[in-house]
Subunit: 278 residues, 2 copies
């Protein structure tokens, strides 16, 4: 692991790191904030998965998470959203919603994406092992959150590993990719046309199929331009109601899809996570 | 005034606006955060002047000021750092520390800069009038802060209008431009080689010449790469001691010159301002 940069912030260290990923076959860059802590202490880890077009940098610069992480003693990990680099196949016409910056947190099975687009394995296996080895992380206390496509990632990963992630939350998540244009394009492109293979990457379908978490927190901007066509929080609401999952869904009037929305509610989410991380 | 964008944030509105400036002869862009407030209320105004290479966007995205401004009821105004646009002369070789993004908060007298580089008049006359007209601003309660070159601007403007700005603070300011390379280059280029004309744009010289403010707050990163050659807070410390100005100068160990430093201490500065704005 190579250190790209470190900056002191809120008495902790905001770092950016790069490593050669065996999961994706590329170099991967991520950021980690380590709050002030006692020598030798191990701290809980919050994973933040970003949305379409983002890298680690968007939330690192605009997410306003460090004050709360410093106060609550949380490590904050922000991975990239796809493999990148020479030879990594992109969307055929360079669209923003597939390929680079749009890995959708799956292991692709379709060509030419299968070799590199393995964000599921990268995030559930390889990167946690690296975080455990390189940072003062208590891997028995992990939680996960994300925004938009990253909200989809947080929900699907959280629902798939309910013992690993003690809290799961999202900002404006894609809750049912199998039923919206962004998700249909991505899952077709990465996983093929057989929709049965999509269900483990669709939060609504996962819940229908029996996946459970104790509680979910979701904030959704009421003025989000993607609310009606792509996000459809009512589908998650219905699935959680049917399954008896304790969902707190807050429609925040006037808020859009941007980091102005995310940063407003970030500290609130982190406090919710901290309460569940012990 | 044209609205470029508005985003709801911390129950207020983060806006970006553009107008044709008569001071600079160019379009100027700036951002204003208006916190939640009662209908008809007038709120105190904090001016934030940015550093070299910045536009309004840097602090707007990375400054982490909105939570505190919402809590304290402060309007936060972030202007650009120079005129921009076709025909605006830049540094002869495009250096980052002169010309575009580097107006140094003076009214230039030297050619070819005199026509457009009038940031002093823009910030002390034209933009305050626009803010008063367009926002719920109580112009009897203004304060000013800034970073690096913008710290220089905040100190020199604050010292020049002690009745107007109830509080003055800075992050890593250039405190004595007449004695450091950045300042010597800029003041020569904008104001010419006669150093007597520089004194009203040099915080240390202004204080020597009798300018006073009741109190100053300055945070300076101890690991700031520009500390020794360009910033020299000890010169401000000496001037304030000689003049009896109550300077709180905090050297923050390990902090650098970046927005990771600024955002860490932003809320603290805003609380200090709010206490003086009443």
């Amino acid at each position: 692991m190579e250190t790209v940069s470190t900056n002191r912030a809120f008495d902790g260290v905001q770092g950016v790191y790069r490593h050669a990923s065996s999961a994706t076959g590329t170099d991967m860059t991520f950021s980690v904030y380590v709050p002030p802590h006692a020598e030798g202490a191990k701290l809980p880890v919050v994973w933040y998965l970003s949305g379409l077009t983002c890298t680690h940098a968007n939330v690192t610069e605009k997410g306003e998470f460090r004050a709360a992480c410093a106060e609550l003693g949380l490590i904050f990990v922000a991975p990239d959203t796809s493999p990148r680099g020479e030879g990594v196949p992109d969307d055929p016409v360079g669209a923003y919603d597939f390929g680079l910056g749009a890995g959708f947190y799956v292991d692709a099975t379709e060509e030419p994406y299968a070799a590199n687009y393995r964000m599921w394995s990268y995030l559930t296996e390889e990167l946690p092992a690296l975080i455990a080895a390189e940072f003062p992380a208590d891997m028995d206390r992990q939680s996960i959150m994300g925004h938009s496509m990253g909200g989809h990632g947080a929900l699907t990963i959280g629902l798939s590993f309910p013992d690993r992630y003690k809290a799961v939350s999202a900002f404006a998540p894609i809750v049912a990719p199998g039923q919206v244009p962004w998700g249909e394009k991505a899952l077709t492109g990465y996983l093929g046309t057989d929709r049965s293979g999509w269900r483990k990457h669709d939060a609504g379908a996962l819940i229908e199929d029996g996946a459970r978490v104790p509680a979910l927190l979701v904030d959704q901007g009421g003025a989000d331009q993607f609310l009606v066509d792509q996000l459809k929080p009512e589908l998650l609401e219905r699935a959680c109601a049917d399954a008896g999952i304790d969902l707190t869904l807050r429609i925040q009037p006037g808020y859009d899809h941007s980091y102005y929305f995310i940063s407003t509610f970030m500290a609130d989410h982190l406090r919710w996570h901290a309460a569940r991380l012990g």
